[in-house]
Each structure stands twice: as structure tokens, then as C-alpha cells.
């Protein structure tokens, strides 16, 4: 009985001592890898091979300048540039999981029409997911905001505004747009 009590006491004391002794190994730093750091819109004017790229990062947001009454083909890219030496192209993953993803553009620019392009990515249900779109700019001088969304697991891919799709927003970035 006394032996037992001594044992328990002994265990406790040893424990408190060892606890005091274990120190000095500092925790290692975690450099968070944001899975997506950059959204790029690559604009190609119809009938031209020249490409203009507009970039959204948390530090730098480009504006979009469009010529009036012009047709553009626009491809969207999602990149992980948290390690500049090993840039990850997340677009490939989105395309691989095309059934659970949808890109949606919302525009406040009067007369700007954004539609899925003929060479867009089509999911297994035959729905285009707007990785490649055609933008038809208005004939008049306008300005506004275009917001690009990447939606994960939308309830439906049929709709005309963000509210219609449900799902979880993976990306939501806004660009100032000028039509000149």
C-alpha cells in the first residue's frame, strides 16, 4: 500500500521534473501556401494574335481596357505563385474536376456580353464551364466592374447571376473595366 503510494508520487514528481527540462526546441515556421494566389485573364482580340494579360493578386490589381465594339477571346487562369520557383497551374485541376466547378463572370458594364467560347471546356453533362469565353464590348464608351467567380460544387450550372448557382466561392476577384 505504501509502496503504491510512493510509486504514484514518484511518477508525478519525475513527470514534473522532466516537464521542466524539455525546452529550447522552437517550433518550426509554417510558410502558408495559399492554394491560389493569382488570377490571370488573357485577352486575344478577334482577328489578331496579340495577347494582353490582366492580373489580380492581393498586392496588384490590373484594370481592363477594351476597345469599343470589339470581340475578344478570354481565357482565365488560376495560379499558385506562393513559391515563385515552383508556380502551380491550378487551372489544370479545375479542368480535371470540371463537373464540380463553374467559372462565372458578373459585369456592371452596360452592353458588355460575356459568353462561353466555342473552344470552352465542356463538363460530362455537356455544360460549358467558362474557362474560355468571348467578350463582345459595347459600341459606346462605358465603364464598370467585372467580377470573376470560381464556384465549387454549384447546386446548378444554369443561371444568369451568382445567386442562381449556390455552391462555395473559391475565387471572387473584381476588375475595373473601361471601354474606349
Amino acid at each position: 500500500m505504501n509502496i503504491l503510494k510512493n510509486l504514484i508520487l514518484g511518477a508525478g514528481v519525475t513527470l514534473l521534473f522532466s516537464a521542466c527540462g524539455s525546452d529550447d526546441d522552437l517550433p518550426e515556421v509554417i510558410n502558408e501556401e495559399e492554394t491560389i494566389t493569382t488570377v490571370k485573364l488573357n485577352f486575344t482580340e478577334a482577328g489578331s494574335s496579340e495577347t494582353k494579360t490582366v492580373v489580380w493578386t492581393e498586392n496588384k490589381i490590373d484594370a481592363i481596357t477594351l476597345k469599343a465594339d470589339t470581340n475578344y477571346q478570354v481565357s482565365i487562369q488560376f495560379l499558385d505563385e506562393s513559391d515563385p520557383n515552383a508556380v502551380n497551374n491550378i487551372t489544370e485541376e479545375v479542368i480535371a474536376e470540371k463537373d464540380e466547378h463553374l467559372v462565372y463572370f458578373n459585369s456592371t458594364v452596360k452592353g458588355l456580353s460575356i459568353k462561353s467560347a466555342a473552344n470552352d471546356v465542356i463538363d460530362s453533362n455537356g455544360v460549358a464551364i467558362n474557362i474560355i469565353t468571348t467578350w463582345q464590348s459595347p459600341v459606346t464608351i462605358e465603364s464598370g466592374i467585372v467580377t470573376a467567380f470560381l464556384i465549387h460544387e454549384p447546386l446548378t450550372k444554369v443561371g444568369t447571376e451568382r445567386n442562381d448557382f449556390g455552391g462555395e466561392t473559391d475565387i471572387e476577384v473584381s476588375f475595373d473595366v473601361k471601354v474606349e
Partner: protein
């Protein structure tokens, strides 16, 4: 055929003396020691007089002289037991008879079961039958049976108890004598315990039970299951439940062994397997859960000396509603506006991200020794290892990695001495030492929400119980805790400066790590707690209780250090390094009136609590990320005033019909900003109508929660480009959902297979009318309705 035998265990009630000749009254109950059920038709005889208990196991013996009587207590074919009681000192006594199904050599007497922890605070108990009814659910669900106890939940499986408006770090859960350390600070961290591991649960609403800890300003939940004190016996139970909602099952089994040489053992295990739950109108996608747990204990005990070892393991995987993992504040706005979840899938048993995986190991060794004419010394060591992994929806290589991976290890060594030689002045003094480490796994690739830390605490306490008069008892307690917290926390340099920490805490930096500082915040706290109260017993065991308590609570690691994104709430949560201790002063009063007009029992318990430096989380701004905008929530400390009342009524209408009703109301106010506190439970009524005839018991239960009309306005505005327009939207996160009323039905039929009343079949239907509702204290109320109808079948076999 084994002989059906019983053992008599007694518990002394409260002394009451009316100094006149032969008009003493002895009242009480005969209760099954094992499952807490009252025993009807038990016979109590003395001097050739025989009394039998009613259907609630109650008896009342009048015209006794103030002297000692030898009472003989029997029930069915139990061995007859004799107990001598001095009626001049005792007016109420509960006899505990134990059913078990083997021969008994020896009668064992225990005085511990059923005893109150404090004299002056209202205590509520859940019996083993209550626990059986909740075997497929959680501790938090079962505790809602008690007035004044509500729950803070994340979906339907992560359920935390809220005692009179306070939860998480403000509550202590005692898991078989060990203070549960399972990262209880988090609102979406449910207690990592299996309800089936216990056969009795007590709730103490207040800080007065100082032996458990000084910082339980909300209260204490004491869940325990003692080793059998019976000899030469083996008995146990096996339970099975199947539920329609979640389409799953829960099974559990317990075996108790008592050997003749004072050794006993107990083993218990539970398995739960559930798929997606369903609201009335849709599947709650990804809300399945799995749980496996077991416990084993063995010990030697005689009156003088005892030693016990105990180990329990809990392992759970819980899905989090898919639609509650939201991308940004725009999704939150859409979720609030939508009647349906924004992500729905077909029913499945699969559990995907977001999910939680938790494991809890508890091992303890405990010994006691009694010293003649002095008291009882107890010594206990406990080790707890808690592992929590939380999985968010991630991409690429990180897809299957946890976003949060914490290991919390707690060693606790404690000793207490109970001086009980003087029956009228009992004292307990004790000391508790704990050492705790928290180690986040750096492989998550996500910055640590809770940092690495080491914590030492040392507490000393003294409590005493004084019988001032036969009908007036007082208790008094004081406790001091020293807390030393040594954390290693990384801060982003821009954040460190933006918060002004570079000015306020320049000495905390110990290493430069590129764009982050490694800092070493060290905190020391001295916490004082004190409690004093009285209990006055009058006329037929009516009681008045009054308690005043003061307690301090040191800030928890979330409040100090949290720094990151919570997907379930779509908030960025920020702690503060400059928080002080909470200081709570609480007054509670309880009036318990039994046998009013011979059929009614009433308990009214108002309380008032003033908490200085009360911590709360509130939105302070928006932060723009590539996922869109996120509200930033920060901790703030304020002075709070909480007050409310818990009311319990019960009445026996006829021999078969009875009704019980509980009501609780609470208000919480921020006294500095003169506004309401967030997350205060809405007024709630819970009423049960029971019809019992021989082996059948039918209960209809109504739960009605009113709409919470007192809440702070934490709404904020965000800008949207929607409908081809740039609009400003108010995000209404504050408005509570409407009130609701739900009906449940519970039927139990007890059969005799091999031994009397050894098999129980139960059928329960909860939310009979499949009502769609949302609860103010469910963190998923923005995203989906609560559970729809659930039909369950319960089978329970005792052997």
C-alpha cells in the same frame, strides 16, 4: 436459475428534528442502486408495521418517536436487509437496493452515490435510464433535459453544454474524476466523451464546486461511473439503437465484475455509425458521424483502503455540413437569404471534408486510505492525450491534409484530504498540479490557429461543510490557482505592426523568420475563487438554498492567440495579447418545495452574475482576399451582467399520469456598451406528460423555444457586384431565427425474459410533425434547418 438478490445501500438524508414526542416523520425513496429507477412495492417494516412504496418508490412513515428504529427493507425476492436509523437525527432517507443476478456473500454499504457535491447550489442529476435514452446521442443532448442547460451546437452531432448562458472554457466537465482537457475552448469542439461510459451525470450550476477547479464560472458537469461495490457478482447491460434519421445504429455494452476479495472491474464499449442526417425538406449533406469508444477500470477497495486504475479511449469522425464550409462573405449573404443549403447532395454514409477527427485517451490511477478518527486521503494521477484534426476542403497536394492538427497532453496530479471525523464540521483540503503541452503539427501547411504552448498550474483549496443547526447547513470554500503559460507563437510582421504589438510587446520576439516573427508570450495568473452558501430545510423536506461565489478565469489560448480563417463561419478570428482574467461574482438562490397540495413539486432558482472582463467575439471589419471579402472578428473584454431564472414543476395527476415542466430564462447585458450579449439562449420550455401503467411508460415531450429578442446588432455591410449592379448589402448575421415548438414521443416497455424486468424495448419519435426550424445557438443556423423527424428503436438487456 440464479437467485434474484439485492443489496442495501444507504444514504443519509438531511437531519431534521422536531423536538416533540412520537410525531416524527421519515420519508424517502427506495431506488435501484444500479440504474437509479425507483422501486415500486418495496416493503419497509418495523415493529410489525409494514409500509410499501408507491409507483415512484416513495414512502412516508409517520408517528415515529425520536429514537432509533431497525427498518427492514425488501423488494420482490431480494434478501431482506435491516438498517437502524435514528429518527431523531434523520427525517429523509433513500434506500438503494441493487438488482443483480448472482448470489451474494456479503452486503455492501456505500454512502457516496447520490450525494450532493455542494450543499448550497442547486444540483440536477441524470439517471442511468436518462442516459440510456440518449445512448445514440451526445452528452450535450442529454444535458438539455435539465432546466437552465441548453446547448451550443455545430450541426446535430457537435453539441456543447451551455449552463445558464456560459459554455466552453467557462465549464468544467469531470470525466470519471478527471477534469476533461480536450481543447474545450473552441465553439465547434464538443466534449470528447461517450455518454455511455457513465451511469450518473450531475450538473452544478455555478462555481461553488471548488474541488474541481477554480475557473468554472459557468458550472460543472460531473459524469461518472463507479466500480461496483458488490461482491461475487457479474452483471451488465447491452444496448442497441437504430435511427431513421441518419440511417444508423448505436450499440453499447457494459460488464461489471465484483470479486469476493474486494477486487472489482468494469469494461464498457460503444460503437456508432450514422450517415447524413436529414432536415424536413432536404438531406444535410456530409453530416454523418462515426464513434468508437471503450473504457476499462479495475480496482481494489475496502472501507479503509482502495486503489483503482481506469483507461478510456474515444475516437470520433464527424462530418461538418458541406454547405457551411463557405468561400467568402458573398456566400454567407446568399446562405442567409436562401431557404435551402447552397450545396446539396444525395444521402450517403461517406464523410468528406469538411470534417473533424478527434481522439481522446484518458488513463488514471487513484488510491485512498482512511485514517481512524481523522478522515480520508485521496491521491490521483491522470494522463490525457487529446488529438484533434480538422479537415477543410483543400486543393492539390494538400487535399488530404488536415488544416488543423493539434495534440494536447495533460498530466494532472492531485491529492485531497477529507476530515470527516466530526460529522457536523467536515473539511476537505486539496492540491492539484497540472502540466499541459499543446503541439500543433507544422505539416498542415496552414499557419497555426492555436500556438505551441506549455502550461503549469498549481491549485490549492479548502472546503468545509458545517451543520449549524439540524435544519441549517452551511458550506464554505476557498481556492487559489497559479497559472503559468509559456507560448511560442508566430506572427506575420505586417500584422504584428498593424496591431501595435511592436510598440506594446517589443520584448516578445525571439526569432526572425522571414516575413514572420517568432514570439514567446509568457503569462502568469493568480486566480482566486471563493464560495459560501447555506441550505435550510423545513417542513417535509422543503429546501431553501443560497450561494454566493466568486471566481476568476484566465484567458484561454483562443482568446489570446487565435489568428486565422474559420471556414465554418467565414470569419477571420483574431485573439488579443492584452486580455485580463474574467472575474465573476454570482448569487444563486433555490427554493425547492415538495408535495405542495400533496401532488405538486416546485423548484425556482433565480440567479444573478456580474462578470468583469467578460470575453466576447465581435466583427470589427472586412479583409479582402482572393476568395473575396471576409469579416474580421476580434475578441473584446467587457463587463457583463447575466441574470435569469430556472423553474421546474412536476405533478402526479393520478396514479398513472404525471406531468413535469421546466422553464429557463436568461438575459445577458454588456454593461459598457449598454447592449445585449450575443449567444444568450432564448427562453425555453420543456414539458413532459407521462403515462405509466405496469410495464409500459409513454411520454409526450414538448420543447418550445421562443424567439430571442435580445441580441446585439453585429450586422455589417459589404459591396457586391450582382444583378449587373454594384450594390451595398447588409449582412444580417445578428437576427435570431423564429421560435419553434417540437413534439417528441417516447415509449418504453419493460419485459421479463430470464430475470425480472431485464429487457426494455423503447420507441422514440422526435420532431413528430417534421417541423422545419433553426436554433439561435446552432452555428449552422445560417445554412440549413435543424433535424427533421427521427424514429428510433432502442433495445436494452440487463444481465
Amino acid at each position: 436459475m440464479k437467485r434474484f438478490a439485492c443489496v442495501l445501500v444507504f444514504l443519509l438524508g438531511n437531519g431534521m428534528l422536531i423536538a416533540q414526542d412520537c410525531n416524527q416523520v421519515l420519508i424517502g425513496q427506495v431506488i435501484d442502486f444500479h440504474d437509479g429507477l425507483p422501486l415500486e412495492d418495496a416493503r419497509i417494516s418495523f415493529n410489525n408495521l409494514v409500509f410499501t412504496t408507491d409507483n415512484e418508490g416513495r414512502f412516508r412513515i409517520e408517528n415515529l418517536c425520536p429514537t432509533a428504529y431497525a427498518f427492514t427493507v425488501t423488494h420482490q425476492d431480494c434478501i431482506t436487509q435491516v438498517k437502524t436509523i435514528d429518527v431523531s437525527k434523520t427525517s429523509e432517507i433513500d434506500f438503494y437496493l441493487e438488482h443483480h443476478y448472482t448470489d451474494l456473500d456479503q452486503v455492501d454499504i456505500s454512502t457516496s452515490n447520490g450525494k450532493n457535491v455542494t450543499n448550497s447550489l442547486s444540483e440536477d442529476k441524470l439517471s442511468s435510464q436518462d442516459i440510456e435514452n440518449y445512448s445514440s446521442l451526445s452528452l450535450g443532448d442529454a444535458l438539455k433535459e435539465v432546466s437552465g442547460v441548453t446547448s451550443l451546437s455545430t450541426g446535430n452531432t457537435i453539441v456543447k453544454p451551455v449552463i445558464q448562458g456560459l459554455h466552453s472554457s467557462r465549464i468544467i466537465i469531470m470525466n470519471n474524476g478527471v477534469r476533461q482537457e480536450d481543447q474545450e475552448w473552441g465553439e465547434e469542439h464538443a466534449p470528447n466523451v461517450d455518454i455511455n461510459a457513465f451511469n450518473q451525470i450531475k450538473i452544478i450550476k455555478g462555481a461553488g464546486a471548488l474541488q474541481y477547479g477554480g475557473n468554472a464560472i459557468g458550472g460543472v458537469v460531473v459524469a461518472e461511473n463507479k466500480l461496483t461495490t458488490l461482491r461475487d457478482t457479474i452483471f451488465g447491460s447491452a444496448g442497441f439503437a437504430a435511427s431513421s434519421n441518419g440511417r444508423g445504429t448505436a450499440s453499447n455494452a457494459t460488464v461489471n465484475i465484483g470479486l469476493s476479495d474486494c477486487w472489482s472491474a468494469r469494461a464498457q464499449g460503444t460503437l456508432k455509425y450514422f450517415g447524413d442526417s436529414e432536415a424536413p425538406d432536404y438531406v444535410l449533406s456530409n453530416t454523418g458521424h462515426r464513434e468508437q469508444s471503450f473504457s476499462f477500470g479495475t480496482g481494489y477497495s475496502n472501507f479503509q483502503f482502495g486503489i483503482e486504475g481506469y483507461y478510456s479511449f474515444y475516437n470520433a469522425t464527424q462530418g461538418i455540413l458541406r454547405a457551411s464550409h463557405i468561400g467568402n462573405v458573398g456566400d454567407l449573404v446568399r446562405a442567409i437569404k436562401s431557404d435551402r443549403p447552397l450545396i446539396e447532395e444525395d444521402f450517403t454514409y461517406a464523410i468528406n471534408e469538411p470534417k473533424q477527427k478527434t481522439q481522446h485517451h484518458l488513463a488514471k490511477l487513484k488510491a485512498y486510505n482512511r485514517f481512524r478518527n481523522l478522515g480520508k486521503l485521496e491521491l490521483q494521477y491522470a494522463l490525457q492525450v487529446n488529438q484533434r484534426k480538422e479537415f477543410d476542403i483543400r486543393r492539390g497536394e494538400d487535399r488530404d491534409k488536415a488544416s488543423l492538427d493539434l495534440e494536447l497532453i495533460t498530466h494532472a496530479l492531485e491529492s485531497s484530504f477529507l476530515f470527516d471525523a466530526n460529522e457536523n464540521f467536515k473539511k476537505t483540503a486539496g492540491v492539484q498540479l497540472t502540466y499541459q503541452t499543446n503541439t500543433p503539427n507544422p505539416r498542415t501547411g496552414v499557419r497555426r490557429l492555436i500556438p505551441d504552448y506549455e502550461k503549469y498550474t498549481a491549485g490549492v483549496y479548502a472546503i468545509s461543510e458545517i451543520s449549524l443547526y439540524d435544519n441549517l447547513k452551511a458550506d464554505l470554500g476557498i481556492r487559489y490557482d497559479y497559472i503559468h503559460l509559456d507560448a511560442k507563437k508566430f506572427y506575420k510582421k505586417d500584422f504584428w505592426e498593424a496591431r501595435g504589438y511592436d510598440q506594446e510587446f517589443p520584448n516578445l520576439i525571439i526569432r526572425d523568420e522571414g516575413n514572420q516573427w517568432l514570439t514567446n508570450p509568457i503569462y502568469e495568473y493568480h486566480s482566486i475563487a471563493a464560495s459560501a452558501g447555506v441550505k435550510y430545510t423545513y417542513a417535509d423536506n422543503n429546501k431553501l438554498l443560497f450561494n454566493a461565489s466568486y471566481a476568476m478565469r484566465a484567458p484561454n489560448p483562443t482568446e489570446l492567440f487565435s489568428d486565422g480563417l474559420h471556414h465554418s463561419a467565414a470569419i477571420i478570428e483574431l485573439g488579443r495579447l492584452d486580455l485580463d482574467q474574467e472575474k465573476a461574482l454570482k448569487f444563486s438562490f433555490t427554493s425547492e418545495h415538495k408535495n405542495l397540495f400533496d401532488f405538486l413539486s416546485v423548484k425556482i432558482a433565480p440567479y444573478l452574475s456580474k462578470i468583469e472582463d467578460y470575453k466576447l467575439l465581435e466583427p470589427t471589419g472586412l479583409e479582402l482576399t482572393i476568395r473575396g471579402a471576409f469579416p474580421v472578428w476580434e475578441y473584446r473584454q467587457t463587463d457583463a451582467l447575466l441574470y435569469g431564472v430556472d423553474v421546474d414543476l412536476s405533478a402526479s395527476l393520478t396514479n398513472n399520469w404525471s406531468v413535469a415542466s421546466a422553464f429557463s430564462y436568461i438575459r445577458g447585458q454588456d454593461e459598457i456598451l449598454n447592449e445585449d450579449l450575443p449567444q444568450m439562449p432564448a427562453p425555453v420550455f420543456r414539458s413532459t406528460l407521462t403515462y405509466a401503467v405496469s410495464q409500459l411508460e409513454l411520454s409526450l415531450i414538448n420543447t418550445t423555444a421562443l424567439k430571442q429578442s435580445h441580441f446585439p446588432n453585429n450586422n455589417f455591410e459589404v459591396e457586391f457586384t450582382e444583378n449587373q449592379e454594384l450594390t451595398t448589402e447588409v449582412v444580417d448575421i445578428s437576427s435570431p431565427p423564429p421560435g419553434y415548438t417540437l413534439f417528441d414521443l417516447m415509449a418504453n416497455y419493460t419485459l421479463t425474459l430470464k430475470n425480472p424486468q431485464d429487457f426494455r424495448v423503447g420507441l422514440s419519435v422526435t420532431n413528430i410533425f417534421n417541423t422545419s426550424y433553426r436554433d439561435y445557438l446552432n452555428r449552422q443556423r445560417y445554412y440549413a434547418d435543424a433535424l427533421g423527424r427521427n424514429i428510433s428503436i432502442h433495445l436494452n438487456l440487463k444481465f
